[in-house]
Symmetry: C2
Subunit: 143 residues, 2 copies
């Protein structure tokens, strides 16, 4: 089992753009505050990691396991047509994996979401419901 660093700190821009959902064994799960899409981030709780290949092999395997778990839950909850999974990180250096539920006719379809449409803030009740549903499906506690 990967042993996340005790002194993990979330990048400030990621913190600003997201709501915390909870911690899986390796990654913090975050919900992007953009109601255009159901859009999650997985951030390995390791210091100094910006590429998937900066993780050791057991952590990479665990990352794939967590990508699959979160993808399944997000597909189930959103009823999406397609999942987009991506580790880009050209702007924010800390490794973060996007898992985005895409639907035909969404604000960017069929283009990638980045830069496609201005973020649309969730209503409080809507984001609370979404986070509750994610926590229940992933058996996560608030962080």
């Amino acid at each position: 089992m990967p042993n996340p660093s005790e002194d993990f700190t979330l990048d400030p821009q990621l913190a600003r753009d997201t709501m915390p959902v909870g911690d899986l064994p390796l990654c913090r799960v975050l919900l992007i505050n953009d109601a255009n899409y159901r859009w999650l981030l997985l951030v390995p709780r390791r210091r100094g990691v910006s590429e998937i290949i900066d993780l050791d092999a057991p952590a990479r395997a665990q990352l794939m396991t967590e990508i699959a778990s979160v993808s399944r839950v997000l597909k189930e909850l959103s009823g999406c047509d397609k999942l987009n999974v991506a580790a880009l990180g050209n702007v924010v250096e800390q490794l973060h994996v996007h898992i985005i539920a895409r639907s035909r006719g969404d604000a960017a379809w069929p283009k990638p979401v980045w830069g496609a449409a201005p973020a649309k803030a969730y209503e409080k009740a809507q984001i609370d419901r979404m986070i509750d549903a994610l926590r229940q499906a992933l058996t996560l506690k608030p962080v």
Copy 2:
């Protein structure tokens, strides 16, 4: 070890946009014919797979192993500043994982590459050299 389907067929659009590099145990490795970036695709040789979660757990683990191998080689050969790794597939349904070497000042930097700049065809000698170097580094034979 995953057992790729015998009757794998590469999507025609992926075939049109790429040059074959070779086959890893799970994936076909392809080079996108766009000299703006060093840009590879990994396509699992399985039928009817459009999402990472359509692969079974051993194949997902193997996909992560191959993503890591190809990422390391691409970083080494390109001297890039950042790797972008993504499975989107909103247009082409067949699961394909982009592994893109990004450099500060490239044709899209720091944006994602999709839709950012018109593709620039390689010169024949340049693409041949690139494919030879990839085959040598990944110990691949022509397919």
